[in-house]
Every structure is written in structure tokens, then in C-alpha cells.
Symmetry: C2
């Protein structure tokens, strides 16, 4: 059955290659009678189009790549799921690439001059290490949509939630509960730490808006956003010279779950002694004990906005200037801040 070409079908159906191509692709109007003959020939011969030839000729693969730091971090796997589903609805196939935070790997996939990137019609990137300077050197022939706020105000479309406002909302929730010594875990005051810095900004804003001073030693830096980072940071906070905080705002849910682990093993009651808020709303937080209060970014909306925009660029349907696209988020209050009645 292999090796059946368009021309074999054409011969069998007694029409030209052109007509078979039209019929198979549903392009130009083909008379019903001819279409039926072609379809019969396709079925008899077991013809399947050679996608590599088609891609080659069309100059497109129908492939887009989603580049994320780590696929097994729940936030990214949940996001990847949504992107794959949305892209499929448009007829595109998604290749998920993980960079492990390696700057070179990230550049390789995004910079059009690398062979690795050449197979993809477009790129959706959640950058970790890439800089504005890198992007400035990028050829503009392959559409790129950025995710998150690592790189804002570039020459590319950019989907994010308002991290400052979201972090402020999370912090205000703790302040509303009467907490006054709120730790912030996950600050990253270095070049690639823009997202974390925005969350720290929101944390500060919440305090400033109420005339409350921020206790600088309660802002804890973590290199990564993993369970282990949260567990370690929390252990350090429990040893704080002025005593442990009465609440913790963690910059993602993994950090929060790691922190909770440390608290529980130390006999600290949550939320009575220390309340905990996370960020991302991963599924694990909904079944943890205590369940985790968190900022829930609308991942489906993020995926939808990113895919729609990328495809609009691919199809040249949208040639407006690159824009910031904002996805909604909400605070989900659970047991880690408000004990069940």
C-alpha cells in the first residue's frame, strides 16, 4: 500500500494530478462525478498524502513548538495540555520542548538561525533565560508569542496575567485576615527574575497601600520554584530572629506545598499559627491537607490567547503591532488561610 502517489490515483481515476490534488484537499470546485471517481481510486489504492512532500511544497509543517523550562512542573504540564488542545482545534500540532532552564537550549529553539527551529511554523515561549538582547537579534520571519512576564515590551506578542495586581490581591487577603508579619517566598532579584520581582512589587504595594512597613528580612529569595526550595526557605523562616512570620505568600504552589511540608513536620498549625498562600492553582493544591489558598491564573485563557494570536500571525490575518494580552486570574481561598468550619 505504501508508495501510492497522487499520479497513481490520477491514472486510476482517469483524471489529472491537479484534479486529484484539488479533490483530496477540497480546494477548487470539483464536479461530484469526478470527485466520486477520485475518492473511489483513493480508497482502492489506499492512497495517503505524503505530508513531507506537502510541507516542503507549502513551506509549512503545521508544527508549532511550545518551549517551557520543565514539563514535569505542574503549572507547565497543565499549560501544555491546554496549548496542545487549543492548537489541535486549529489543525496545528504542538511540539513541547523543555529547556531545563539552559539559556543555550532556549536560544537554539527561538533564534531562527538554528536548524532546530526551522521545522516550526511558530513558537510559543515561556522564557527563563532569554533576554531582550537575544530577541532583538532574532529574525522576524517566524512568529513568536511570549508567555509570562519575564520579557515584556518586546517586539513580540505577549500573554500574561497582571502579576503585580495578583500578588497584591494575595497579600491583601492575608492582611485582611489580620496577619501582620507576612513572609514572601520566591523573590529573584536578578536579571531573569522579572516575574518574581513583579510579585514582590505587588506584595510591597499591598503593605504600602495600608501604611504598613515591610519587614525586609521576611522577603526570601529562592533560586527555583520547586518543592524543595519552599521546604528549605520555610525551615529558615522558622529560625527567624524575631520569630516565625504569621503568614507566608509563596510565589508558586510548589514552593507553598514545600513550605507546608516543613510547617507540618514542625508541628506548626495551618492556618492558625501560619497562613499560607500559593500561586498557580495546580491540582495538587486542591487535594493537599490543608487545601491551598492560591492565585489561579486562567490557564485555558492563556493558552487560547497565545494560540489564537500565533495562528493569526501565521495566517497573516493579524498584522497589527505586537500587543500585551492579559488573561484573567482569581484568588481561590482554601484551608491554608481560612480553617474549615
Amino acid at each position: 500500500m505504501a508508495g501510492v502517489r497522487l499520479r497513481d490515483v490520477a491514472e486510476r481515476a482517469g483524471v489529472s494530478i491537479r484534479t486529484v490534488s484539488n479533490a483530496v484537499n477540497g480546494y477548487a470546485p470539483v464536479s461530484d462525478e469526478v470527485r466520486a471517481r477520485v475518492e473511489a481510486a483513493v480508497a482502492e489504492l489506499g492512497y495517503k498524502p505524503n505530508l513531507m512532500a506537502r510541507n516542503f511544497k507549502r513551506g509549512r509543517t503545521g508544527l508549532i513548538t511550545l518551549v517551557v523550562p520543565e514539563l514535569d512542573v505542574p503549572y507547565f504540564s497543565e499549560l501544555a495540555r491546554a496549548v496542545i488542545t487549543k492548537a489541535r482545534a486549529h489543525g496545528y500540532t504542538v511540539v513541547v520542548d523543555q529547556t531545563d532552564g539552559e539559556p543555550d537550549r532556549e536560544r537554539e529553539l527561538v533564534m531562527r538561525d538554528s536548524a532546530a527551529a526551522a521545522m516550526f511554523d511558530g513558537v510559543i515561549l515561556s522564557p527563563l533565560a532569554l533576554t531582550h538582547a537575544d530577541l532583538a537579534r532574532r529574525g522576524a520571519d517566524q512568529p513568536l508569542v511570549l508567555l509570562g512576564e519575564r520579557i515584556a515590551e518586546s517586539a513580540y506578542d505577549h500573554v500574561a496575567i497582571d502579576n503585580v495586581a495578583a500578588a497584591r490581591t494575595a497579600t491583601e487577603h492575608l492582611l485582611d485576615l489580620g496577619r501582620r508579619r507576612i513572609a514572601a517566598v520566591g523573590d529573584q532579584p536578578w536579571e531573569s527574575g522579572e516575574t518574581a520581582q513583579l510579585r514582590t512589587r505587588g506584595y510591597r504595594d499591598a503593605h504600602e497601600a495600608r501604611g504598613l512597613a515591610v519587614e525586609e528580612s521576611l522577603i526570601v529569595t529562592t533560586r527555583r520554584f520547586h518543592l524543595a526550595s519552599g521546604a528549605e526557605a520555610m525551615a529558615a523562616l522558622l529560625e527567624h530572629p524575631q520569630g516565625p512570620p504569621d503568614a507566608v505568600f509563596c510565589y508558586n504552589d510548589l514552593v507553598a506545598l514545600g513550605a507546608i511540608r516543613t510547617l507540618l513536620t514542625n508541628g506548626v498549625r495551618i492556618p492558625e499559627d501560619i497562613a499560607v498562600v500559593g500561586f498557580d492553582d495546580i491540582e495538587a493544591g486542591r487535594y493537599n491537607t490543608p487545601t491551598l489558598t492560591t492565585i489561579s491564573p486562567d490557564k485555558t485563557a492563556i493558552a487560547q490567547l497565545a494560540v489564537d494570536r500565533l495562528i493569526a500571525r501565521l495566517d497573516k490575518e493579524d498584522e497589527t503591532a505586537p500587543a500585551e494580552l492579559w488573561a484573567p486570574y482569581e484568588l481561590v481561598v482554601r484551608e491554608s488561610t481560612v480553617a474549615p468550619v
Copy 2:
């Protein structure tokens, strides 16, 4: 810069297209002097090979697809990560496709007659709905490696752990702790439930080997292996007519974590009142409170075995009969069965 072809480079370097191709691909021996001229021309012109043309001509894309039910289930995202990493080391790119357990979607990707599958050089599939009958109708021209024990003894290579032995190990651990009313959560006594059935087999074997009767009503069926399934099943077990069990063997970690959630909200002590064992060793179980005792399949080994075999088939290096490839596993004892001292 775009549109630079091999022939442009050839003209610039004053050699034939053939020679440029050889130099670029590092194929045949090219004299150092000529190579230098070609490389200079490549650099000056900014030449990048057209991968679609190359794929077309070679009849290969360098793409393999990993088909899993759900990408945001931790076991699969952790596995996907490993497969992507291993495949990249061989120069292959992985497309992760999720089927959401839809049989048609699974068939579409695996059956060679669909257009969707035509772009991939090979397939690694963790089947959920596909049957032996489906596979029997599959063309043999595209290598396929199966993951897990859903479909054993087919005409394809097959990577798995020994589920019967692993489940038996898990159950024996609980028996060794003196537990006698051990529930099994996750049985799936229907066609696509082979993996679950093997685990039930191991659970029974452990009892039989010690001359202990299995209390049939303690074997609980769940349609899926999610957190919610475990939470619901555990709630039902707490209402068991003969009283709750004194231990639970859950068929994956999500089910176990869901069960733990139900136990903790009902004031049940773990492991004192009820001990819990999971299966998969996902990261969340290592930071849960209590940490989760579980069967840990060596996911890296699974990925390595699957990728190595697939590529050996692709390269025709391995034309032996399809085989069962066994990956190691181990029981990891944590707080959910043995309280910390």
C-alpha cells in the same frame, strides 16, 4: 537572509551543490581547503538548510510521537520529560500527543493509515483504549513501542515493569506491618483495565502466599486514576459495613493522595489507623504530609528502553522479534505506612 539555497552557497564557494551538501552534512570526505571555502560561503550568505526539503528527500522527519492519555497527570509528564530528554540525545524530536482517553484519537495517531501519523518516524504509545485487534490491523512500516501492560504479547516491542510482582511487594509490605484488612483501590475489571487487573493479581498473590483470604468487598473499582477517584473511593471505604480497612493499597499515587485527603479530613490517623501505599512515585508524594509510601518504577529506565528500541528499529539496527523489555522498580517506604520516629 531567507531563501539562501545550497546552490547559492555552491556558486559563492565555486564548487558543486553536491560538495556543499557533503560539507554541510559532514558526509563524504571533503578536502580541508574546500570545506573552509564552503563554510565561509555559508557564513557570508547566512545559509540554513531547508529542513522540509531534507525531510522530504530523506523520507524522514526526525520526529517521533509520544502518545499518552493525559499530559498533566504527573506520571505521564515525568515520563514525557524523560522520553524527550533521551530522544534528544539521539537527535530526535518528540511530539507529545494526549488522547484524553479517546479511543479514536489514539487510533488516529497509531494507525499508519491516518494522515496524523504520517509525519512521524516512529511512535511510543501508552495505550488506554487501543485493543489487540486494532494493532493487528496496523501497517508494519512505522516502528511502534508500547508502554505499560495494557497490551502485552502483541507484534510490537513493549516496555513495562512487572506489575504483578510490584503490587505483590506493596501488599506484602502492608502485611508485614501486621495489617490484615487491606483495601485495594483502583481495580478495573473491563477490557482496557489490564494494568489494574495485574495489580489486583499481585494483591491477591500476596494474600494467597500467606494463606490469607481476600475480603472481596475491599477491592474497589475506580474508573480513572485521579485524585478525585481516590477521595471518593476512600469515603466509601470509611462507610464499609465491617468497618474501615486498616490499610489501603492504591493503584497510583494520585488515587493515594486523594484517599489521604479524605482520611485526614475525617480525622483518621495515618498510618496508625490506616496505612496507605501508592504506585508511581510522583514528586508530590515526597512532599505530602504524610509522605507517601509507593512503588517507584524507574521512569528513566522506561524512557531509555523505549527510545533506544524505537531508534534501533528506525535505523534497522535491530530486526529481532518484538520483545518485552522490563524496567526495574522498587518499594519506597515513607510516612504513610511507617510513622517517623
